[in-house]
Amino acid sequence: MKGQKGTVKKIFDYIGKYKAAAVLSLSFSFLSAILILLLPVIFGDMIDCIVAPGEVDFTTLSPLIIQAAIIILITAVFQWLQYTINNQITANIVRDIRTDAIRRIEILPLSFLDNHPHGDLISRVVADTDTLADGLLLGFSQLFSGLTTIVGTIAFMLSIDVKITLVVVLVTPLSLFAARFIAKKSYAMFRKQAQAKGQQTAYINERLTSQKTVKAFSQERNSIRGFDERNQALASYSLKATFYSSLTNPVTRFVNSVVYAGVALVGALVVVGSGGLTVGGFTCFLSYATQYTKPFNDISSVITELQNALACAQRIFELIEQEPQTAEREKAKLSDIRGDVDFRHVSFSYDKEKPLLQNIDFSVKAGQRVAIVGPTGCGKTTLINLLMRFYDADNGDIFIDGISIYDIPRRNLREQFGMVLQDTWVKNASIRENIVMGKPDATDEQIKAAARASGAHSFIKRLPKGYDTVLGKDFDGLSEGQKQLLCITRVMLCPPPMLILDEATSSIDTRTELLITEDFSKLMKGRTSFIVAHRLSTIREADLILVMKDGNIIETGTHASLLAQNGFYKELYESQFKKSE
């Protein structure tokens, strides 16, 4: 329950921003609840005017009718205002929470994002937040008006008979206890339900994004089977959660009928013992007893809904409060750099039990072209991850122009690099938006020039709407190679002082590659470049080749010097030319 209280407090923090609206909503809710209680009294007075044939008091009746009509209209307006404001507050809060979630995602360490099923995170941002919204809305609209009704009814009852009122007031908390007990149980189930839902969403996400491979291997049935398993797990938790929580209403209603029986018993006995209560007063009392217990029902059913909302809220807050990447240090700043890069005794591993990079140590002079080669899985991409500070080294330090990259803000570091990765990513936006990521204020001319240089212009101009083609909407069929050309265009548009090209042209055909070679060379000129590549031509022209194996740099040198060494590099190099028969 402790976690729950914390969650409630966090929700209140979000509500705090809309304090004025919340107060307004509560006042409207208070006023309409009072007016709703008052209307039956007026109706009662009206009925009192109707006594018998010929004895109807029309002079008293007419103004009462007008009074009632006014009250009805005001109540309706207040109700509408209250609901509308509640909707506004909820929509705003949900918007705020989602924005906070995405803001947090942008600063979470990659180790978290790489190791978390994306579907589960999406489920938190979308589905869980939605459930929270539903709960909040219900809570807003029923909790307070319920309380007002209870207080109002107690006041009305007190005015009739104190003793019986005490009976009512003392017995009803029973229903609250029952509701609380059930709520506790169902909260646990709601959490399990939300978890199962997250797992299912992760599965759906993964399977649907891989649909084509699923088809190629006729794995559709297998997918369905896996889905079915998760679906059944979800259904069994859902059934428990829904059933437990739906117990609240019948149970409180039962407690209420006990209260009702109690009032009937005590009330009737008081009347018989002539304790100053008339039959009319007794009837009135019974009707208030039902009115009084009704909000308890509402409140307890709201509470169960809130359990569900809280379970979901906790999952979204878990994300929002996830430890962000290590704090930025602003001891120094990089500007107009030359581009000297030094790795000093750097060690790193993703999994602390399996060392990967060990004691990496090398220096690159400004403007040098560095090729990193080695068998797959030897740690080439990891080196890039460290250089860009996607991950931080466990030991050792990395310097740019003598400044430790851990002493400057990440953005300042990343500004210095233009990066193209093998794993292409284009977002569902227009081609133009995809290109200007690094330079949002680029002019059309600059964009086209960059696209020409990268060789992307010729395919872009053939797209349905050219540079304004929205990917994922107007067009969906970019090949890997075309995506890679787009990624290169991004860098061409605003070339920073240093470049990282991790298999940047792996999906581009060699003829196209040849066409852009010149522009690429122009781009790399004077810029320190790190190139992970398999193509010999790129490697051969490097000023420095780092040969990696099993997390170590085992050889360094130029193409010629490494061949002369007759070592691992030579082995790699020669395998290229061997015939495969």
Binding site: R95, T99, L269, T376, E581
Partner: protein
């Protein structure tokens, strides 16, 4: 929408019993006033304390009985609603499995995810609430109207006027609400999309310092959602106040007419009170109903989105892998393309034109060409991911259209350009090719795919758990596992779609060597941009803009095909001029 109800089948008992028991509970509640009247008339009237105690206990006992009925009802309705929703979800997911790739694109993955999750959730709670309340509320409303008729026909006409008016308003708001809620859900799709985008593109976003921009875009989407939610709220919030106004104005009218009638002696005061009480009952019930109707409106909007998914014709239904194959003509080549032309979208330029070639059993076919030349499109036609509009592709002399997709795909092993591995053990992933493969067979395939060493180095070997989308493997490792997976299938046709792009040369070389040793039982298609990968093929097809511009062996093409020569020299500049 109607289709959805068929998923209710099997829960008929629950669907009948849940509302019925709720009804019984309501009836039991109706007995309470009768008992109270007895207490007043006989207990208090006769001063009989024993009677009072007894009847008070009866009231409590009715409550207990009501508890039993309603708990059972809650259980039944939860069971039916969840059973229904979970079947619906399975049905929708299965339906998606039968979608063709273009259908998947037209819905979009994020939208399918929200439909499968959030939307079906809403349908579930809608059904649950409906089963619990929907029978009860109209029962009370119509019961009250009937009771009013029994008291006084003329006054009851006020009731009969009120109920239709209410219905018009309620349904009007509901219809408007459904439309709006559909819009809300569609915006929610964009939130899903945007979140997914941010997660997948995190490296690029950070490298380009696009975090702020992304947050800004996301906030705009979230704000647009909030805006339409608020508007929807304004409309649906009209429901309760308007019901309140109508019922209470009807009440005023009722009392006024009652007053006139009492004055004339047509009605007694007690009867006016009774009529008033019935009107009050209707109000209480309608307010509950209004909440229910909002839930139902949301559920209906979501249900129609789900129905769109389920109602979509599946263009690529998974059919039986073991379906009997048609009689093949002996001596026919394994695979033959005859004048095949294919266009992705109507009216667009053809992606492939007049493709013509033959792939005999055991042959090696190389396909080479620039980015966007149609290589991948061509091989996508072989397993019938797409069907060509004109021309004919035949397998052992039988047109592909006459062979079941499942049975056809069983013969084909594909290694896609972008290797896709899913969460689960390496063994599970490899067994996609053959669910009954032994560890020995798996290792054999891994060996050929040059993946055995690194797999055995992993903790647990074949049991090593791959993260979602292969997140804990390098690009080259994924690619080799994808190759092994295709080999496990022991296909007749193996398609390698640029499958060694992430491999270093040494590994690539060993892989090619291993493949050449596989022997002649397999027909292998090698799609590549490197001439070195295809130079040993029996036939190399050179594609340019969807047309075959060269066909032959490496040596032949080096002589006859300009484009092939250009490609080759772009990779081996040293050789230029020597030839």
């Amino acid at each position: 929408m109607k289709k959805l109800f068929s998923y209710m089948r099997g829960y008929r008992t629950e669907c009948v019993l849940a509302p019925l028991f709720k009804l019984i509970e309501a009836l039991l509640e109706l007995f309470v006033p009768v008992l109270v009247a007895d207490i007043i008339d006989f207990g208090i009237g006769a001063g009989d304390r024993g009677y009072i105690v007894r009847y008070s206990l009866y009231i409590a006992a009715l409550g207990l009985l009501g508890l039993l009925f309603s708990v059972t009802a809650q259980y039944f309705s939860a069971k039916a609603a969840i059973g229904f929703a979970s079947r619906l979800r399975l049905a929708a997911f299965s339906r998606i499995q039968g979608f063709s790739y273009s259908q998947i694109d037209s819905f979009g993955i994020p939208s399918m995810i929200t439909r499968l999750t959030g939307d079906i959730d809403r349908v579930q709670s809608g059904v649950n609430m409906t089963l619990r309340l929907f029978l009860r509320s109209p029962f009370v409303v119509f019961g009250s109207v009937i009771a009013a008729f029994l008291i006084d026909t003329k006054s009851a006409l006020i009731f009969t006027g009120t109920v239709p008016l209410l219905s018009v308003i309620v349904f009007g708001i509901m219809l408007a609400g459904i439309k709006l809620f559909k819009k809300v859900q569609a915006k929610l799709d964009s939130i899903t999309k945007s979140t997914g985008d941010n997660l997948r593109g995190v490296r690029v976003i950070r490298a380009f310092r696009g975090e702020d921009k992304e947050v800004e875009n996301f906030s705009a989407t979230a704000a647009a959602l909030a805006k339409i939610q608020k508007f929807t709220g304004k409309i649906t919030s009209l429901l309760t106040p308007s019901t309140y106004i109508i019922i209470n104005f009807a009440t005023i009218l009722l009392i006024y007419v009652g007053a006139l009638k009492v004055n004339q002696g047509d009605l007694s005061q007690g009867e006016v009170v009774a009529l008033y009480n019935y009107m009050a009952k209707i109000l209480v019930e309608l307010i509950k109903l209004a909440d229910l109707i909002i839930t139902m409106t949301k559920a209906a909007a979501s249900a129609s989105r789900t129905a769109e998914l389920i109602g979509e014709e599946t263009e690529d239904e998974p059919d039986d892998e073991n379906a009997p194959l048609p009689a093949f003509s002996a001596g026919a080549p394994l695979l033959q393309f005859r004048d095949v032309t294919f266009t992705y979208h109507d009216g667009a330029e053809p992606a492939l034109s007049h493709i013509d070639f033959t792939a005999p059993k055991g042959s090696r076919i190389g396909i080479i060409g620039g980015t966007g030349s149609g290589k991948t499109t061509l091989i996508n036609l072989i397993p019938r991911f797409y069907d060509a509009q004109s021309g004919e592709i035949s397998y052992r002399g039988v047109p592909l259209s006459q062979i079941g997709k499942g049975a056809l795909r069983k013969k084909i092993g594909i290694v896609p350009q972008k290797s896709v591995l899913l969460g689960g053990s390496i063994r599970d992933n490899l067994r996609w090719g053959d669910p009954n493969a032994t560890d020995e067979e798996l290792k054999n395939a891994l060996q050929k795919a040059q993946a055995l060493d690194f797999v055995m180095d992993k903790e647990g070997g074949l049991s090593y758990e791959i993260a979602e989308n292969g997140g804990n493997l390098s690009g080259g490792q994924k690619q080799r596992l994808a190759i092994a997976r295709a080999l496990v299938k022991k296909p007749e046709i193996l398609i390698l779609d640029d499958s060694s792009s992430a491999l270093d040369y040494a590994t690539d070389y060993r892989l090619r060597q291993a493949l050449s040793e596989i022997g002649k039982e397999m027909c292998i298609f090698i799609v590549s941009q490197r001439t070195v990968s295809v130079k040993d093929c029996d036939t190399i097809l050179v594609l340019d803009d969807g047309v075959i511009v060269g066909k032959g062996t490496h040596e032949e093409l080096m002589k006859s095909c300009d484009i092939y020569r250009e490609i080759h020299y772009s990779q081996y500049p040293d050789e230029e001029g020597k030839a």
